[in-house]
């Protein structure tokens, strides 16, 4: 412990520490700064401090507090603003550095550092509405409830909340379930706030360097004029497609897309980038590898391979066997999903995809089911006697209610596809229509959407992937030919084939066999 790293590191592009210390968010910010991208100044309190905090909270925070204050001074110098007072007050965000957000974690606290005097100063700089909205946002956040008036105490308690939440039982259970490393802890990133809510020339959004659902090589994302980042991810506000930013502020849009392309090249992977536009100026807040559908995982790996960003072996590493197995099962293909008319959006409460005629009354639903129709029951709310409608329905949609509502509980118990909390008026809107309920995405779309599966034989993407695999896999899989037959693509069967000296086999799923062979030979 004598050779401790500094507890607080400025993320100015020179913080040459790995993500294990800076946290993934901190590492991403430092990387963006290093590459000259517009990122608000930030510092991080390292994951090492986060780990010490879990053992000795009070002593740890006392010990590093002077370093945190130094960090705040650096943000003040970089922004020409002052934390905790006017005339030009500095507000900050405090974020967890964890690579994935997990239940029970305090991920983000925005707009920290506002009290009565600061609100007045913000109003003088901008507008009364902006100052009020900004303060309201902080007060509504988990760290803002009953927050002290002293901005430094606010900062201290937010940092403590971020560190402590790593150790919460829910977060620990999530890591255990998903096989995530439970050692260590999270870093905390403190960053100067920029404001998407300051005027009409501002807003917040998320942009993907390519479409993460279909895998198409096109920009994809969401834009919320006048909003802040938490609005965009919360799903409670209607956001616009990213093309709305292009229409509104073409120069900013071009700069954003250029940054997305550049980050994709630097990371050799498709990026998901959170950004804010403050009065016509673009700011990037964080970047990370985009979450993607199985379809997109395959298509994006092939595109990056074409673009020369990744080699054969890395291309195959980007596609997990689970992706291929999911693609071989019938499912709603993202391009079909996105092409259909979106009628309602709610919370996914029972998984699966089903199509049927929408009925809003239980008796009518039962009669229709008796006639042999596929029925979707759509209710404003559910009462106990709706159970008979739910029994005959293939899918259930409700206007009100959350993921723990009675309707959600009963739907799951019956194994019904369910989307709940779609909002007022949805029953009237859907009544009598043929609809497809997507209980995985929480959507209701118009018409009958077919479920289709990919196949190793006939889907071009999988054939191309198999061609690449035959160049690098220690065991080459073939659909036919004069080779020994591999009965299963399990790791054990593949290992046995390789141990017995085989290099070419015939298999029902040559691609899965080769992915297994590569995994086995790499020892992962």
């Amino acid at each position: 412990m004598s050779t401790r790293n500094p507890p607080v590191l400025l993320l100015d592009g020179d913080a040459s520490y790995p993500p294990e210390i800076l946290g993934h968010k901190g590492h991403g910010i430092d990387m963006m700064r290093r590459n000259g991208l517009p990122v608000p100044p930030a510092f991080c309190i390292t994951a090492e401090v986060g780990a010490r905090y879990l053992a000795e909270p009070a002593a740890t925070i006392d010990e590093i507090w002077d370093d945190v204050l130094d960090g705040v001074r650096r943000l003040e110098a970089a922004t020409s603003r002052t934390f905790g007072q006017g005339p030009h007050p500095l507000l900050v965000s405090v974020r967890s550095g964890a690579a994935v957000s997990m239940p029970g974690m305090m991920d983000t606290v925005l707009d920290l550092g506002v009290n009565d005097a600061v609100e007045e100063a913000l109003a003088a700089e901008g507008t009364v509405e902006f100052a009020h909205d900004t303060r309201r946002r902080f007060a509504a956040s988990p760290a803002g409830r009953d927050a002290p008036a002293d901005p430094y105490l606010q900062l201290r308690s937010a940092i403590e909340a971020v560190f402590a939440s790593w150790g919460s039982p829910r977060a620990a259970a999530y890591r255990a379930h998903h096989g995530l490393d439970d050692r260590g802890a999270t870093a905390a990133v403190v960053q100067a706030m920029v404001f998407g809510n300051i005027n009409t020339n501002s807003g917040a959004g998320v942009v993907f360097s390519r479409n993460p659902m279909t895998g198409a090589n096109e920009e994809f994302g969401e834009w919320l004029p006048g909003g802040q980042g938490d609005d965009v991810v919360s799903g409670t506000v209607d956001v616009k497609p990213i093309t709305a930013l292009r229409d509104q502020q073409p120069a900013v849009y071009d700069e954003l897309i250029a940054a997305a392309r550049s980050l994709e090249r630097l990371a050799s992977d498709v990026q998901e980038i959170e950004f804010t536009v403050q009065d016509g100026t673009l700011w990037l807040l964080q970047t990370r590898p985009a979450k993607r559908s199985a379809q997109a995982a395959v298509r994006l790996a092939l595109q990056l391979h074409h673009d020369g960003l990744i080699d054969d072996a890395e291309t195959l590493r980007r596609v997990r066997p689970a992706h291929v197995e999911a693609l071989l099962q019938p499912s709603l293909q993202p391009e079909n999903r996105l092409a259909a008319n979106l009628l309602a959006k709610g919370l996914p409460a029972g998984p699966g995809v089903v199509t049927g005629q929408a009925y809003t009354e239980v008796d009518a639903a039962i009669d229709a089911a008796d006639r042999g129709e596929d029925v979707i029951l759509v209710r404003n709310h559910t009462s106990p006697d709706d159970i008979h409608g739910m029994l005959v329905a293939r899918g259930v949609v409700t206007e009100t209610g959350g993921a723990t509502s009675h309707a959600a509980v009963v739907s799951r118990e019956l194994g019904r596809v369910a989307v709940v909390g779609c909002g007022r008026g949805v029953a009237e809107l859907l009544a009598g229509k043929l609809v497809t309920v997507d209980g995985n995405e929480g959507e209701v779309r118009g018409g009958r959407l077919q479920l289709t599966a990919w196949s190793e034989d006939s889907t071009p993407e999988l054939r191309e992937l198999a061609d690449i695999a035959r160049r690098v896999s220690p065991l080459r899989g073939h659909a036919s030919g004069n080779y020994p037959v591999l009965r299963s693509h399990s790791d054990a069967a593949v290992r046995a084939a390789m141990t017995s000296g085989q290099t070419d086999v015939v298999s029902d799923s040559p691609l899965l066999a080769m992915l297994a062979a590569m995994r086995v030979s790499e020892g992962t």
Partner: protein, 201 residues
């Protein structure tokens, strides 16, 4: 047993067999059959594949419930319902945790996880007991709900977890959902208005 009790039980079940109706009322099947025959003859119940309430029956039921409410101390009942709301949120969360683990269907292969949830059910049961008592002091027939909750809980404790949340049978969730409906009606609220305020979800 009263006409009200039978009509309301059929209404809450939606469609129900005579045997299940007698079981949920906790009454002798022959006695229930007598009342059901009278209600069917007067057109208030429909006896098809299962019993259900007719449109006239609903009108009659609403009138009977309104008459019942005249004898209720509404403040006491509103207080009981307010307490129920808090326990209700905890109960539905625990059922959801029973069904889903980290967003995936609970495969019930982790004994400690399941045991922790069942311990929460015991806590919920203790908290709801005085609430049902308070409500039953206003509407005596509601005391039956605690007996049914207790019976479902006993079955869960005996190791038959279906009695936690399976629909149709008088599982803990089925009884709870009906009790919730009874309290909304007794407090002279509607589920629609409650749903709007987020409490009857």
């Amino acid at each position: 047993m009263s006409e009200l009790a039978v009509l309301h039980a059929v209404r809450l079940k939606g469609r129900v067999s005579l045997a299940d109706l007698a079981a949920t009322l906790g009454e002798d099947a022959d006695d229930v059959a007598g009342v059901v025959d009278r209600l069917t003859e007067s057109g208030l119940l429909i006896d098809g594949k299962a019993l259900r309430v007719s449109a006239e029956g609903r009108v009659r039921l609403d009138a009977l419930l309104a008459a019942e409410r005249k004898h209720i101390d509404t403040a006491a009942l509103a207080a009981a319902y307010a307490e129920f709301r808090a326990v209700n949120a905890d109960f539905k969360a625990l059922v959801t945790d029973w069904q889903l683990k980290d967003g995936q269907p609970n495969t019930h292969d982790e004994t400690a996880y399941d045991a922790a949830i069942l311990a929460r059910l015991d806590d919920v049961h203790q908290r709801v007991a005085p609430i049902v008592s308070a409500a039953a002091a206003q509407v005596p027939r509601l005391s039956r709900y605690f007996a049914k909750l207790q019976a479902a809980l006993d079955n869960v404790h005996r190791g038959d977890a279906a009695w936690l949340s399976r629909p149709i049978i008088d599982s803990y969730h089925t009884v709870w959902f009906e009790l919730h409906e009874e309290l909304i009606v007794a407090a002279d609220l509607t589920r629609e208005s409650e749903a709007k305020s987020g409490d009857a979800q």
